[in-house]
Each structure stands twice: as structure tokens, then as C-alpha cells.
Amino acid sequence: MMKTILLFTVLFNASFSLADVYHCKENKVDFYAVGVPSMLKIHGESSELSGDITEAKGTYSGEFIIPMNSFTSKMKLRDSHLKDKVFEVEKFPQAKLSFKGVALKEATSVPFTGTLKFHGVEKAVKGDVTITIADKKIKYTTHCELLLTDFGIAPPEFAGMKINNEVKVEVTGSSL
């Protein structure tokens, strides 16, 4: 019995060591939206994104979660509208981004397709990602563009200010 346990332990560790897991802690999500007619640029940000990136056989997978209540656009009134009326954080407290089998090249912008669950809607999103790895530490930058209507959100309008449907998202981070 002891031999069997030892064998399984060795096998398990051997297979596990085929994958590198990067626990990403220092992350930041920024979104950029535009309001018309004044071309108002709204920049929201959060540093509470958490997740892991796993590398196996040269391809990368990952899963990230962000509490939607953590976003701020540096203005109380706007934040309150954003969270209560747009994100509806009470009903949809988190957003999740996951991707699988993405072949990344170091220091090269590579297109990827992932899945974003946001505002209760799960949908494929396309973007690009750039990584650098040094001393078993990964750094990444991701860009993608979302349509609010894809996630069941009507482009918000407040007192004559209409927010465009397209929202740019940038995610940056690094592992410990």
C-alpha cells in the first residue's frame, strides 16, 4: 500500500510539474468609455482582479475574477450610477474572464479568444495579449473591446449624456 501511495505521489508530481502556474496578484483593469455629445472620456479602474495563468506544453490558460463593486471612475456620482444602474453589482457582483490553449509568444502581441461572463451574460471576447516571463514571473497586458449590448446592457444615458456602446478594456498584471 505504501509503495502504491508513493508511486501515485511521484506520478502526480511528475504530471503536475509539466504545467507552470502563475498566481497573478498585482493586476489592474481599466476601461475606457466615451460619452456624447461632449466626447466625455470615462476611465474606470480596479486593482482587485485576481486569477491564475497556467502554462502547459507551450499554451496558456487562465481564469480571472473581478468584483464589480471595486471599480471607480474617481467621481462619486458617476460611480454610483455605474455600479447601481449599469453593472448592477447587487445582482451581478462578479465578472469572470477565462481562456484556454492560447499559444503565446514572449514579448509579442498575440490575438486570443476568451470567454467573459459579465452582467450575467457569458460571451466570447476577442483581444490581444502580450506576455513577458523572467525569473518564473509573468507579466501580461491584454486589450479587448466590448459592446455593452452584447452583455445585456443598454448604453447608458444620463441627463443628455449618452455613453457609446463600445468600451475598451485593458488588463495588466504580473505574478508573484
Binding site: 475606457y32 466615451v34 460619452g35 456624447v36 455629445p37 461632449s38 466626447m39 466625455l40 472620456k41 470615462i42 476611465h43 471612475s73 474617481k74 467621481m75 462619486k76 456620482l77 458617476r78 444620463f158 441627463a159 443628455g160 449624456m161
Partner: protein, 372 residues
């Protein structure tokens, strides 16, 4: 030059309403986020009312601020008229104190009592203001319309505006007495009849204005010519711009070339700078520059410092003016604003055969502003 400013303040007491470049801290680098006018000042749009109510008031709950920020405390709220009619108005007065080596004086001045309306229908906007003014030291009151114009929006980015308004040049600040504004005959009190074509995108803006002066009051001999302003906003809190102005009066002409920048450095800190080079046919080739640093101590309470420098260079006259100022801008509750400021002014003058003379003066002023 600056020595004359308090006098000019009285002579040109009526001024139009404000724009607050400090709102760049919140990402509002384009004035028409809050104002009906593309280059700011004057009547607020619905969004501007909400922002003013929440961010420019120290006291009051969120609901109180929402209610109070409306025109005349909600006179038009909930009516169908409110969709197409925007109303506003301002009453302002200032008490200023001036202390020079030669004299000390103080005076209260009613600066403005105006009503303004905007009718917005489809792509058209019509704006008009009417009020009373007491020009200079005169005891008589006369009616005045500081602005009236028609604007057509071809798209979200392209607009055409014709009528009477302030041509776009530099940063339109509430402090119209700076060396880069009144001293250059720009900004408030220098409204003129114009035709303006504008392009405004996420990052770039271009405003070209044909300036036709004041054909209704030729005695004022205001500039006729053109102004061009190009600006770039690399982020939501930063804007840079370049300006040029050509103006022709009856017996003279001038070129102005300027650059400006404004930035919300942090959520609390704002900085702006403007520099203008002037070239007058009469021979004056000088500069004027104004800097401002403002810090938000509380929501609705701003502490600020200013620095100005200006020169006049002609064959007969060589003068330098320097101004350092500190102030406190207070928005206690929706509709109210108070501004307390102190300035130290130094004028160095060399004229003809006269040797250099330097004069120093202290100016303090307290401005009260109520907007409907």
C-alpha cells in the same frame, strides 16, 4: 498694465457666467460636457446641472443636491418644457480692495444680473441671454444681451455656430482679469459677432472662428479677424492646445500666438498654464502668461494659487508686470459660490526718458455669485 486691472474690473463690471476648467479633475476637459456652449461658460445643460449639484456643494444630502441643482430649485422639473428649454441665470457682485503707494480704495460692484435660455430642438440650439448692466460708474442701468447665437450640429463631432459669443482662444476661465484675458482684450466682456466651425473628437478638437467684431457698436472698435484653436487631450484629464488670433481695428492690427495646457494631476489637484505672444502693428511685442494651481480641500472648497507675468515692449514703453495670488473658492450649497482672493502685484515701468520705476500694490477681492 496690471495696475489698471481693478479699474477695468469696474469699467467692465458686467461679465458673463463661468466655466470651471478645474472640472478636468473629473475628466471634463471639454466644456460642453456641462455647458450648452462648446467653449464653456453660460447656461448649463442637464448633465452640468447634476454635476454642479453633486460636486460643487459642500453641504446637502444627495437627494437635496439633486433637487436644488435644478433651475430655480426645480421650477421646470418634470414638465415637458424641460426637454427642449434650458434656463439659467446669474447674479454676481464683488467687493474689491486696492492698496498702492498713492492711494487705497475699496468698492462694491454689481457685476452681473442675467437670465439665459437655450432652446434645443433636433440638431438646432438657440441661445440667448438678457440682463441689466451698469456700465462703469454710471448710475443708469441699461439692458444688454451678452450672447445670442444659433448652433447647428451636423454630427456629434461637427458643429457650426453663428451669433454673439466669446470666440475660442486659450482657456476660458472665470478669472477674466488675468493678463492673458482682459489685458489682451479676450474672454469675458469681449464677446463679438462670430461664425464658428468646430470639430470635436475623443482626442482632438479644432475650432475656427471668423470674428466680425461689434457691428452693432462700432464705437467699441473691437477686433475683426479670425481665431483658430487646436487642442489635443491625450488622457481624460489632460488637454493641450495652440491658438492663433488675428484682429484688425480701425487704425491697427495684431497677431496673437498662444499655447495652453490644463491637467487634473490627481483627483484633488489641478494645474493650468497659458502663454501668449503678442505682435501689434503699433509695435508692441510682448508676452502674457498665467498659471494656476488649485487643490480641492473638500468637495466644493478649492484653495488656489496664481502666478502671472506680462510684458509690453514698444519704442516708448517697456513694462513688466508680475502677479502672485492666493484664493479660496467656496461652493457651500447648490447655486452659491464665493471667491476670496488676494494678489500681490509688481509693475516695473520704463517710459521714454524716465528712469525705471517700480510700483507694488495689494489687491483683495471677495466675489459672491448666485446662479438660478
Amino acid at each position: 498694465m496690471k495696475k489698471l486691472l481693478p479699474l477695468l474690473l469696474v469699467l467692465f463690471a458686467p461679465i458673463t457666467v463661468f466655466a470651471y476648467p478645474e472640472m478636468a479633475k473629473y475628466g471634463y476637459v471639454n466644456c460642453n460636457s456641462c455647458h450648452v456652449s462648446l467653449n464653456g461658460g453660460g447656461i448649463l445643460n442637464d448633465y452640468g446641472r447634476q454635476i454642479a449639484g453633486q460636486e460643487l456643494a459642500i453641504w446637502g444630502s444627495k437627494d437635496e443636491k439633486d433637487q436644488e441643482s435644478q433651475f430655480a430649485y426645480g421650477l421646470l422639473s418634470g414638465t415637458s418644457v424641460q426637454k427642449w428649454l434650458k434656463m439659467g441665470g446669474d447674479v454676481r457682485s464683488v467687493y474689491y480692495y486696492q492698496n498702492t503707494a498713492a492711494f487705497t480704495s475699496g468698492q462694491a460692484v454689481l457685476m452681473q444680473a442675467d437670465l439665459e435660455a437655450a432652446i434645443i430642438h433636433d440638431h438646432f440650439t438657440i441661445v440667448g441671454s438678457g440682463g441689466a448692466t451698469q456700465p462703469g460708474f454710471a448710475r443708469t442701468v441699461q439692458a444688454i444681451s451678452r450672447k445670442h447665437y444659433l448652433q447647428y450640429e451636423f454630427s456629434d463631432t461637427i458643429r457650426l455656430r453663428v451669433g454673439k459669443f466669446i470666440p475660442s482662444y486659450g482657456i476660458l476661465t472665470p478669472d477674466h482679469m488675468t493678463l492673458t484675458k482682459s489685458a489682451l482684450e479676450l474672454g469675458y466682456n469681449y464677446e463679438s459677432y462670430n461664425a464658428e466651425a468646430s470639430y470635436l473628437s475623443e482626442r482632438f478638437s479644432l475650432l475656427a472662428t471668423g470674428v466680425f467684431g461689434r457691428p452693432d457698436q462700432t464705437i467699441l472698435d473691437q477686433d475683426q479677424g479670425f481665431a483658430i484653436q487646436a487642442a489635443f487631450a491625450p488622457t481624460e484629464q489632460v488637454k493641450f492646445g495652440l491658438n492663433t488670433w488675428y484682429g484688425k481695428k480701425k487704425y491697427s492690427s495684431r497677431w496673437l500666438y498662444g499655447a495652453f495646457a490644463m491637467a487634473g494631476i490627481t483627483e484633488k489637484l489641478f494645474a493650468s498654464t497659458e502663454i501668449d505672444l503678442k505682435s501689434y502693428s503699433a509695435g508692441d511685442h510682448g508676452i502674457a502668461t498665467t498659471q494656476r494651481l488649485s487643490y480641492e480641500l473638500l468637495e466644493g472648497l478649492w484653495f488656489y494659487g496664481t502666478q502671472e507675468y506680462g510684458t509690453t515692449r514698444t519704442v516708448q514703453l517697456n513694462s513688466n508686470s508680475q502677479v502672485y495670488g492666493l484664493g479660496l473658492q467656496i461652493f457651500p450649497r447648490s447655486h452659491f459660490e464665493f471667491n476670496l482672493a488676494y494678489e500681490k502685484i509688481s509693475n516695473q515701468l520704463a517710459a521714454g526718458a524716465l528712469s525705471d520705476t517700480t510700483s507694488n500694490e495689494d489687491v483683495a477681492w471677495f466675489m459672491s455669485h448666485y446662479y438660478f
